[in-house]
Symmetry: C2
Subunit: 351 residues, 2 copies
């Protein structure tokens, strides 16, 4: 109802100046007599004073806010990353402005723009479009940015990535070690560094073991329509690509999905067609999202330290904000094989 109370209102009540009130209520190190300090705090309480951060932020040119740009929070992969970032931000007294691009370039540009206008102190981004040229814009504006998950090659930028190639190699060689030779790779479009890396790992493993893959064992979906991106869409392409695979003359004995959501689609379709997992078909996923432990059979997959990646990125960013210049600009987190129940040994006679 009433006008918001400001430091001037308090100053008037205690016969002091706004400057003194400010010094007390912003916990400044500036000396103020204990008596006065107490009086001010008491009145502030009575008047239910709440500081207007816009004033402080404008003055200090510091919004105490960081921006986070990701494809979609409804994707459990990203929600875990965000959780990690948020925790670090909170511990540093910062807030997070979250932006979901839904894979739209337009939206990503728009958000980038408004984040700058809102004077965020830093930016953590998992982007499909960010490139070297765009970075200079941020540097010019003194905004620190940390890129995550999707590596930007040759850019002098802080980034924390994940070794997708090695992960792809691990998954594939695990299947090979279990006796599989006919290994399909089911994936969303190879338009991102991460997926390209995983695919490369798949190919390298096959080559190292002297296996020549059939071309039809690489199943790439078309680009998803905007809007229905996310879990449901990936699940759907997992199903669709599996149908194609099953209609092949030369069926694979194992399927490697480029992420867990797609793997769920693969398993679901196999179930639908009465093909037992892992008895008749082995399946391996990628990312180790929480749900992988909850389905039946529990999914064998490649562990991706999502939460830690968020924390890492957050810590890196706040180090930068504090001026702790680090000489390591690039961190690459490592994959880890998580064996569960969706992969089975293939006996020689079954090959």
């Amino acid at each position: 109802m009433d006008k918001p109370v400001t430091i001037y209102d308090i100053a008037k009540k205690v016969n002091a100046s706004a400057a003194t009130v400010s010094r007390v209520l912003s916990n400044s190190s500036y000396p103020v007599s204990l008596e006065m300090s107490k009086k001010i705090r008491k009145v502030a309480e009575e008047l239910k004073y709440s500081p207007n951060m816009l004033g402080r932020q404008l003055k200090k040119n510091n919004s105490m806010t960081i921006g986070v740009i990701i494809p979609s929070i409804s994707n459990p992969f990203y929600s875990e990353i965000v959780l990690g970032i948020e925790e670090v931000a909170r511990n540093n007294g910062y807030h997070v402005l979250l932006c979901n691009t839904h894979q739209s370039l337009e939206l990503e540009h728009e958000y980038l723009q408004t984040l700058i206008e809102k004077q965020v102190n830093g930016l953590i981004i998992s982007s499909v479009i960010l490139n070297k040229d765009m970075l200079s814009e941020y540097i010019r504006r003194k905004i620190n940015v940390v890129s995550i998950d999707q590596m930007i090659e040759d850019a002098d930028i802080y980034q924390i990535g994940f070794d997708y190639r090695k992960g792809g190699y691990m998954a594939t060689s695990h299947l090979i070690a279990k006796g599989h030779r006919k290994i399909a790779f089911v994936t969303a479009p190879l338009d991102r560094p991460s997926r390209k890396g995983t695919y490369r790992g798949y190919l390298e493993a096959l080559e190292d073991y002297g296996i020549k893959p059939l071309e039809s064992w690489l199943q790439v979906s078309e680009r998803g329509e905007e809007g229905i991106e996310g879990g449901t869409w990936e699940f759907a392409i997992g199903k669709k690509l599996t149908q194609r695979l099953l209609s092949l003359e030369q069926r694979p004995t194992a399927i490697f999905a480029c992420n867990d959501m797609i793997a769920f689609g693969v398993i679901n379709e196999l179930n639908n067609q009465g093909i037992e997992v892992p008895g008749e078909m082995s399946v391996i996923g990628f990312d180790n999202i929480e749900m992988t432990q909850m389905i039946y059979p529990p999914l064998t997959t490649i562990g991706h330290p999502k939460y830690e990646m968020g924390r890492f990125a957050g810590n890196m960013l706040f180090d930068l904000l504090k001026g702790v210049e680090s000489n390591i600009k690039e961190v690459v987190l490592q994959p880890k094989l998580i064996e569960r129940k969706s992969v089975e040994v293939l006996l020689d006679e079954e090959r």
Copy 2:
């Protein structure tokens, strides 16, 4: 590197006043000659001017930001709601400041505080602690709040809820209609209006059909430890409570879980113990999160319009912000039975 450019810098370059520049660049309706307007825009472009919203916001006393407080974004139930809110916010030119309380009262209070300080224009909250008394605080500060999902009784507040009681009734009577009489209810602690409602619906359905439930068929977990709340925890309690149920002399023939994550735990444990779903045990969930379609067997559940709830709440809030006083303060969304494959008819002789 260089100092950020302000409207004054532009004004100097074009020999105009800052006011004129402001009028042009903020798309004010105030008349400015086309010539001048063009010149200003050109120079703004050259200098790569980007407005500092803090200045505008302080002046206008409007942060163009709304706050959203929920338990955790990593819970798919909430991430869908947030997606709905975010869409509406974006269409209205607003940003969302997201806060995850992780079920901690302290954190919720802390966030509430900082949101006020950051001068959010409105608040959408799914809270466990919000009560009538706290609301006056917001009203006093002219902050519009819309409460979602967890109804606050007897409060003169805008809220958009869901009929959990009816949902509970639906789920239970569906099981009854399929011939079940021994129906267990597996739930997280009944400390929230939503869960209490669901439980009440369960009891009422049983009573209407003249079924006296065994006390042991109500299985309530202890409170979860902080931090490990969320999907994994709920999954775990689903498993644990199922173990208890199976050790009973009088086993139920169907299990009703208070949400889908718990239902996943139930099914997983049943699988582990070699009990077939739905052949030997029917299971029904609640919420209809995306994953329910992705597991095997697909989960029969009660549909909760999460995304729509988010959109509804967002629209309601923005109506308030625009001054469109509505006379409906309370909306209750309706449940819907989603039949899939986890419930089977129980024949008479099996009872």
